[in-house]
Subunit: 348 residues, 4 copies
């Protein structure tokens, strides 16, 4: 393959980011964008970038035989049907996380992908961050020996709007899912058991939706190592994304990125700026790189760097965390079948 | 009171540290030291410091009417009987942690102390560390608003000898107990529930004694805040003692202390020294301060800064952690009665 | 003006960087590039970017009435004639530093610019760096009160090739000139006197050309503040660019940028990566911003952010430093006329 | 020698610090203290520490045949006569810096010391600081290869009282002298030439005494390396003592010490405490160590770690700096004879 033609479904903030990043790549053309609410403004935006097709109907885009690959950046509940349709249309797929809020649905999507023999990359952008990539490489090279513990801190600068909270699927599948993926990525190992503690400390609105805004999740990896993630929906000082990996030879960590290295010493103390505000600032380069590596994998016919199984495993961890919080006990990923079956039985 | 006369029971490493620190204090005399293995060498050591009495029998020391206060620095299993005897002899008591490995025993000691109306301070030296004291003061002043999460990292540079492991009571009561106390100290609140994960990753010898060498313990405070502690018996880079407190207004943390601020930049990278090696280096000033504040409290007739209840609460947390690890589920401190009763029942 | 058409003269490394950065800007077209050695490869490079004209003769470019502004990125000795020609052709000019190695020549260029009424921006890219911009803003806002001292460390990762050294004009006009501009930029004040110490410690080749590779330059600002710059042609750990400003209310500093925040603690010590390697990595964003602000100034008809006077002042400082090193004493900028006249007299 | 008996002359702040530190040492007795203003309060202070003799007349102390070594902590103008008397009395001497404000006087003192065959240690306490000692050791081990540059920042938290300023001998001999010694200590090499810039920016009172409060001093070492020192009499954030050494293999630096490692991140930014306030806090351990090493050298009959030549060299640098500031040009240490002779000639 020496040229790739792309389409994007869902032109919200993240769709536009992927569009801009695709437009920078050689050997890549962005031919079409689809959005349920496409209007004059989107039309103008697309024209200014040489994108020829703008449609409200994703079927137009999926039906275009020129288009070889699609980005699915629409709302979560549309991911599975769009993956299935795109796979059936023979398109390679980049899908934002999570694949779905329901593991049966996710498995339907993965099956369609497998049957069609197309590639599916999941939007775990943090794997492409300069700090986390380095961290993973050094761990893999053995910088800290055998891994004993992975610690992830992940806090947002402020909670989402209430309407978003209700549809988010809860903190674990909406927010912690990135950390679950990071844990697996760094440990290079699946997780067997999850224990989640949570509390509503930031805003009572979370309780209204049976959700929490503060959480500590502990993990047991298949290789015996431990993990712990702490989350908050609101860190007053901004986006907080730090990781430490501890092993037999020592510890390796990455800190936040800062907008500058300025330090002011006065009679009050020593002051520096807060970390980069949020994910668009912090992971700007990571978004560029994930798009580039997706395109490069397709051009080279090689495996994508984050695949459907990665998406599924992180979802299973999120579901186990949700059960754990509900049941007040650790939950093994292997229990999910039974727990869901029991739940169904109760409903009947 | 304008002068205090002290005795010390148990003249191992920590007994000698307390002795040296007492000797620096004005208004204080160290009159006697007792040790089961007192010999010529201890005699010489004491003479050089103007300590008049050296005995193998702690009863000699406790029977001396001049002595107003004692340090109990002997092995853990002697703490309770010595506290009881010292209290009955009307001595004020400084006892190393833990009071005992058994909460009934601990309560017997506390009851004796209360009945005798003497003061009891527990050797939670970290409360007196320059970093942790500052941290606690700033939290109390409201620097981070309402507390949401306390995170404690506590790792030793290397595991103790095997004979020690067998008698230690396990990682939670031997090592994590300091972190349990730190959590309570910083949060200014008791803990209601504990969940402990553990693994044997450092040395298989721990498994032999039903112990673990790596642990992650999550906490629920009575006020709804969460806590998490991670421990390891071996950090290749030395003693690792860091704390972060996160709240509604931000985050506050203390890092390790380093032997110097040297930084070398070469073609290989940027290098600095490892943290201070172990507790004697790291908490040197804290040991001095805890001794000083104990003496000052007695001289002033005021409350000691870490009392028997603090000792008991940390023990209860350690016991709950042990049960949690055994049962594979979170354990409330209020369940301890029942769990111990069941255990007794099984034994019968 | 709502669209700007550009040409670039000199298509070496820096010419191409400006080209790429111009191509990203809205309202900007890059129509032509000129290079004495233009070949098929440059032709291809230009075609791939939609640049319609490639020529070996800068006169073609300067004679094109469509072109409103030019970048002069050719060798230093061509700067003055090209500035004069461009000014006479009515083009706005962006010229790389230094304008020339001779202040009379520089003044000829500035006069031509003034007469033609065009804009001239000098390529002091560091003014646009995220750290230094912030630093300058905070100083201006009064963060450290009245300025007492500016300290600049500026070290290259490795010396240039010998042929470059011979033609460079010496360390002060080639390398320190950036620091001279930075000093004026931060202090918002001209410099009156310079004292330069230098040594050949990195490579004896510098001595061959009457140059030094290590220098310490002290400055007296017109407002009474002091300054000090230290330079080296070779820092084993990479590009070292740090600044501190000290004043009546405290100190403000910026450190190097690092490729990541990774820190590894092992039995050997604590290690992190070296700073970003060299100016292309460190000042990547600064190059983009200087180009953008140049274009924006032209579009808005406003003053450019670094003008010909800024170029001249930094050159005068460099010339004074050269004299100071030669004479072994501090030299005032106001002495330059006399010193040059004496030198001429000696030659006659 | 297995026991050392000491006396101290001059019981101001620094005399008392040395007394307390001597009292901690084994094999050491502090028998007598002398102070021109000795009173009841000093008498009580001495009694509480078991110091048997308190006198107003230093001759009493120097005449006591038991006393083997003395600390001279009196005003600078008494140093030389006291050194001469002490040497003639056969006492080993620890003298605070500077030996005198006049190099002929200093040489008289050194000659007396040499003739008497006693030891003389100068109070350059910073050589004993944990950071600077490490720094010197690493440089000596070759951590940065051949030395190219030494950079020293040394700023006080606030200027001395006016009466002190008038008698201080000026900033170079009063304050910079420590940095001159540090430069020689780290470079392990003498300095040949000094250039000093200075300004009155902190307080106009300094101008009244022909002194400056802000200075930048550049150095040329005999081995060709360069040095630069910056001083201020007032750093709003406290005591600022940092050093960097740069060489062929890289850079090594030490930063300030801080009272704690606390860091608070809030919506305002990231804040930590100011450095340790002043020399008593910062160099507390260094004072202990210099006293200890002085006593150990005497007990072992070995060379003291900072001798009279070290005192003299730092003074010569200070005098050269004063001449440089006056003459507005660099001054070689070898010019001092001539400059002083000319000055004398003018006076005649």
């Amino acid at each position: 393959m020496d040229k790739l033609i792309f389409g994007i479904i869902g032109m919200g903030r993240i769709g536009k980011i992927h569009a801009e990043n695709l437009l920078r790549l050689p050997q890549v053309e962005l031919k079409a964008v689809a959005d349920l609410y496409a209007d004059k403004s989107l039309q103008d935006w697309a024209s200014a970038r040489g994108i020829s097709t703008v449609t409200r109907d994703s079927a137009d885009l999926l039906g275009d035989p020129d288009i070889q690959a699609v980005f699915i950046c629409s709302l979560t509940d549309s991911h599975v049907p769009l993956i299935v349709q795109a796979a059936q249309a023979g398109k390679h797929i980049f899908c934002e996380k999570p694949i779905s809020l329901d593991r049966e649905q996710t498995q339907i999507a993965l099956a369609a992908v497998q049957e069609a023999g197309v590639s599916l990359q999941i939007g775990f952008n943090r794997r492409f961050d300069h700090n986390f990539r380095c961290l993973q490489e050094r761990i893999k090279e053995g910088a800290v020996g055998d891994l004993h513990l992975i610690k992830i801190t992940s806090r947002d600068p402020s909670p989402p709007h209430e309407e978003y909270i209700g549809k988010s699927g809860g903190i674990f599948i909406d927010m912690t899912i990135h950390d679950f993926d990071m844990a697996r990525f760094l440990a290079d190992c699946d997780v067997e058991e999850v224990y989640a503690q949570g509390a509503v400390l930031v805003d009572p609105v979370f309780a209204k939706y049976g959700d929490v805004d503060t959480a500590v999740v502990t993990l047991k990896f298949a290789n015996g190592a431990l993990g712990v993630i702490d989350n908050s929906r609101k860190a007053a000082y901004g986006y907080d994304q730090r990781v430490e990996a501890f092993g037999s030879l020592g510890s390796i960590s990455v800190q936040n990125d800062y907008p500058n290295t300025l330090e002011i010493s006065t009679a009050e103390g020593v002051m520096r700026d807060k970390p980069l505000h949020f994910f668009l600032e912090r992971y700007n380069e990571a978004y560029i790189l994930e798009t580039k590596q997706f395109a490069q994998s397709l051009l080279a016919g090689s495996e994508v760097p984050v695949n459907g199984q990665d998406g599924l495993q992180a979802e299973l961890m999120a579901l186990a965390a949700r059960w754990s919080l509900k049941l007040g006990r650790p939950v093994k990923l292997s229990e999910l079948d039974m727990l869901e079956a029991e739940q169904e039985a109760v409903k009947l």
